[in-house]
């Protein structure tokens, strides 16, 4: 569908990624229609179709642990509720520390995760062998592990959402860009498209890596910024690696999909901004090859099949930005998810929907709300456990 059926909606959601679609799902279930989602590319063209599918509950901030734990439940049920199987496999997340300060961080994370009632474990290097026998342990001094973390295929989630929200009456326009925001009496009153304005009472900015740009189009200076992140997959081999493995030192993360491909990325020195396009940099392949062979020596003869990239939408404190923007009533932010929007989407978009409907949610606005960046003196609780 490329043209809206009406000229006024109750809610317009900009961005048809996992955040936009899940938000529309919660809203439609709450009977908040008519709802319109506009997506300028094809379905899955943003980060939601380019990520590593990792879902973890080990976080440094308590609120994030709770969101993630709720999301794990949602993804376990996803297949039954949405009819498509995302193959959410709970093979665990294994974090590796190679220095005392990294080990200290894992201990701190473990303390928080365990206090939330999740059975996370701190491991000695020798215990790592039982969970991931092929991982090189020479430099590992500590590790943490949570067996109920896991990985999924992002695509069935997107298709499942797309089919379900349309069945619930949500209109999803593909190939339509929101070029700007209509302001009526100091409020967001709709969006501008190439074929004219479309009115709405609320506009949700779920434009992922382009949400900072869309905030600007609404006349708001954004706090978040996109950063290119590269990722690759190897040829498939018979599965040998159960958990997602993350090494803090180089930000390497790697998991093996149900199909047998190794999928992973690592920290690369990309400056913020979308100038690099969604291509692969010439240094990625050798850098990833070094990291992977170092972590999993037996993979040296395996071949890299394809590399690609997408955008992390990074907020200054590493936490998502959720809530109505105080500078523009009716304009609701649902972005800043960094490298973790897929895993946080099911739970956090429920709070986005509450914000859209003007309901109170259990999220602390001082931690998640857009206003937190407007006051430079405000103390922040950053989430620093970013890799993977």
């Amino acid at each position: 569908m490329t043209a809206p059926t009406r000229d006024r909606y109750r809610i317009i959601i900009v961005g048809g990624g996992v955040v936009g679609l899940f938000t529309s799902y919660h809203l439609a279930r709450a009977g908040a229609g008519p709802i319109l989602v506009v997506e300028r590319g094809f379905l899955s063209s943003g980060a939601s179709g380019r990520n590593g599918g990792g879902v973890r509950q080990q976080w440094e901030t308590r609120a994030t642990v709770r969101l993630a734990r709720e999301a794990v439940g949602e993804y376990r049920r996803f297949g039954r509720e949405f009819g498509l199987n995302p193959y959410f496999r709970q093979g665990g997340y294994l974090f590796l520390a190679e220095s005392p300060s990294e080990a200290e961080r894992l201990r701190a994370v473990h303390a928080i995760v365990a206090s939330e009632g999740l059975p996370s474990r701190l491991l000695r290097p020798e215990d790592v062998a039982r969970i991931a026998p092929d991982v090189a342990r020479d430099r590992v001094i500590a590790a943490s592990y949570l067996a109920s973390d896991g990985t999924l295929y992002p695509f069935p989630v997107l298709w499942g959402l797309y089919e379900r929200v349309r069945a619930l009456g949500v209109e999803v326009l593909l190939g339509v860009e929101a070029a700007g925001v209509v302001r009526t009496e100091g409020r967001a009153g709709g969006i501008v498209t190439a074929s004219g304005p479309i009115a709405a009472e609320r506009v949700v900015n779920a434009a992922g890596g382009w949400s900072a740009e869309f905030s600007r189009r609404a006349g708001l200076e954004p706090a978040n910024a996109p950063t290119r992140h590269e990722i690759l997959a190897t040829e498939p081999v018979r599965p040998f690696l159960d958990p997602m493995v993350i090494r803090l030192s180089d930000g390497l993360y790697v998991s093996q999909t149900m199909r047998g491909e190794l999928v992973g990325g690592r920290t690369m020195p990309h400056p913020p901004g979308t100038a690099g396009g969604m291509s692969t940099s010439v240094d990625l392949l050798p850098a990833m090859a070094r990291s992977l062979v170092d972590l999993l020596p037996r993979t040296a003869p395996l071949r890299i099949l394809r590399a690609w990239s997408g955008y992390y939408d990074d907020s200054p404190d590493g936490l998502p930005i959720i809530g109505e923007d105080p500078r523009l009533p009716g304009f609701v932010q649902a972005n800043g998810f960094g490298g973790h929007g897929f895993m946080l989407a099911p739970a956090s978009t429920r709070r986005v929907a509450q914000a859209v409907l003007g309901e109170r949610s259990d999220l602390d606005p001082a931690t998640f709300g857009p206003a937190r960046f407007l006051d430079p003196d405000r103390p922040s609780t950053p989430e620093r456990l970013q890799p993977g």
Binding site: F42, L43, G79, T234, V237, R238, T299, R306
Partner: protein, 553 residues
């Protein structure tokens, strides 16, 4: 020189009779052994198809390394080679029961969801069957092969006819390097070349750098090269396309390149009787070579005069404008079912091979990667670089000649010769009189797929992506659910995500979707050319010197 006293290479435990420089697949085919693998989901038999190391049909494990392509691998004394697919073997695979149990395919996207408690069991079972080979053995040497970095003036990718003509005309200037996937033969004296080395990645040039291009290339023996070049000529040629029909994944269906790669000597074809598909130059060449073994020539479109003449001279029947509906047989095909386009009755021919020679596609991923602007040409059903004066692509310093640029026949060589002066900075090239594929005539597959799909036999599997065993039915389901475009089709069905990187399945799927979606193929979209061009070993890339400054002399 192999040491005659050395242990022979062994295939599945038996000594292997392999000639000097002979690739494994050919050595095995000479002794009647074709079936090397099984497909991923349905365990359908697989035998060499492309012959150029791009498909998924000839994977073997060599000295503990999985997924080595038998059609390119030249065995060394002492090698231990085994097949990994099939249980217990590729010939007798009990898991082929999947093929019979699921005549309409397995719907992995919607399946395996209930009951909830069984999820871990399903997942364990699926993981037991996933992947092609097993992880490499521990300690397979060498883990990391040291690579090299070098700086050149001119990098020429490919040493085919156009590249050789170019180099013959420019002479062996200092700082010229040729990268060739096979052996670079016939280069002028003094031209340096990297043989058996594949150019894998050419990102857009870095503006203002002294050597703006960085080309990553990897040799068959696992050595990687990072080549910084001032100018790059892409002369990567083309390849024979696949064609979609029921049973098109069966052993015995292969491209012209695949057939040539398996021929023990060029004059002896790797089959008893074959049906040749196509009506142009390529089929004429095959008729001249193997005419007495040809059962018939069938063409999706028209048949050119040279083919008609050659066929009538040796009494080979030709069937122009014919649908190839199905190839049937078990481990080797026995017959094909055909029908004249426009609603003709079905008929069949017996044959033990189908050789696809109906269209050539350009090896263009490097051009896409480098950011050259590419134009869709419906007569070829492919993208070609938009060439300015002098074969210059839209990227300064990047040139394309030969088949990858759309030239055919004698013009392939001629295009290389005429590029030479332009590279020396001596003005634009004269393009007049060069024949190209791009003559505006309707392509051989014009209107073909919509007709085909309506008449495909319902009972048989039509595999739209043989690497991943994606069925045509899955594409049809995708379309019926209202999804559009090749990018989404790829992510929805998995078509094009296999080891051939979509070389064989995607071009056909684009034409098919264009027909279903009733819009021109370019609007159906294209799959981004994701690097590397061919799968490259981690151990090769890990051996490259780190980073490397990009400026300096």
């Amino acid at each position: 020189m192999p040491d005659p006293s050395a242990e022979p290479a062994r295939f599945r435990g038996r000594p292997l009779d392999v000639g000097p420089d002979e690739p494994l697949a050919r050595a095995l085919a000479r002794r009647g052994r074709r079936l090397l693998g099984r497909s991923l989901r349905y365990h359908r038999p697989r035998a060499p198809f492309c012959g150029v190391g791009h498909c998924t049909n000839c994977l073997v494990r060599v000295n503990g390394v999985p997924n080595v392509r038998a059609c390119r691998y030249v065995p060394s004394p002492g090698d231990r080679i085994v097949s990994e697919a099939g249980w217990p073997s590729p010939e007798v695979d009990l898991l082929a029961a999947f093929d019979l149990l699921f005549p309409r395919g397995l719907d992995a996207l919607h399946g395996f969801r209930r009951p909830a408690w069984a999820t871990p069991l399903y997942q364990r079972a699926i993981r037991r069957l996933a992947g092609f080979g097993r992880l490499p053995d521990a300690g397979v040497p060498p883990a990391v092969t040291p690579g090299e970095e070098r700086r050149v003036e001119l990098a020429v990718v490919g040493a085919g006819r156009s590249a050789r003509a170019l180099l013959a005309a420019t002479g062996a200037g200092p700082g010229t390097l040729v990268v060739e996937r096979d052996r670079a033969l016939g280069l002028p004296d003094g031209v340096e070349s990297l043989d058996r080395t594949t150019a894998a990645f050419l990102p857009p040039p870095e503006e203002g750098a002294d050597r703006p291009f960085t080309l990553l290339a990897v040799g068959d023996r696992g050595r990687a090269h990072r080549i910084r070049a001032r100018t790059v000529v892409v002369a990567t040629g083309g390849y024979d396309a696949s064609l979609l029909f029921a049973g098109s994944d069966r052993p015995g269906v292969l491209t012209a390149e695949g057939a040539l790669a398996l021929a023990p000597v060029p004059e002896r074809p790797p089959f008893r009787r074959a049906v040749l598909v196509g009506g142009g130059e390529r089929v004429a060449g095959l008729l001249a070579l193997w005419g007495t073994h040809v059962e018939a020539v069938i063409a999706p479109g028209t048949v050119g005069p040279e083919v008609a003449r050659a066929a009538s001279e040796i009494g080979v029947p030709i069937y122009p404008r014919t649908l190839l509906l199905e190839a049937t047989g078990g481990r080797r095909i026995r017959r094909v079912t055909l029908a004249a386009r426009g609603g003709g009755a079905r008929f069949s021919l017996s044959t033990d091979a189908v050789v696809l020679a109906h269209r050539r596609l350009p090896n263009s991923p490097l051009l896409f990667q480098a950011g050259a602007s590419m134009a869709w040409r419906s007569e070829a059903g492919a993208y070609f670089p938009a060439l300015g004066p002098g074969f210059a692509t839209s990227v300064p310093g990047l040139y394309a000649v030969g088949e990858v640029a759309g030239f055919t026949g004698a013009a392939i060589t001629e295009s290389g010769r005429r590029l030479a002066p332009s590279l020396g900075g001596r003005g634009p090239v004269d393009l007049s009189g060069l024949t190209t594929l791009l003559d505006g005539a309707p392509g051989p597959l014009d209107g073909y797929y919509p007709e085909l799909v309506d008449r495909l036999p319902r009972r048989s599997k039509t595999v739209a992506c043989p690497c991943e065993d994606v069925l045509l039915g899955e594409l049809a389901d995708f379309h019926a659910r209202g999804y559009r475009g090749i990018e989404v089709a790829k992510r929805y069905t998995g078509l094009g995500t296999g080891l051939c990187q979509g070389r064989y399945c995607v071009p056909e799927a684009v034409l098919l979707l264009a027909a279903w979606e009733r819009r021109p193929a370019p609007e159906v979209g294209r799959i981004t050319a994701r690097p590397p061009v061919v799968p490259v070993p981690l151990g090769a890339l890990a051996g490259l010197p780190e980073g490397g400054a990009r400026t300096g002399p």
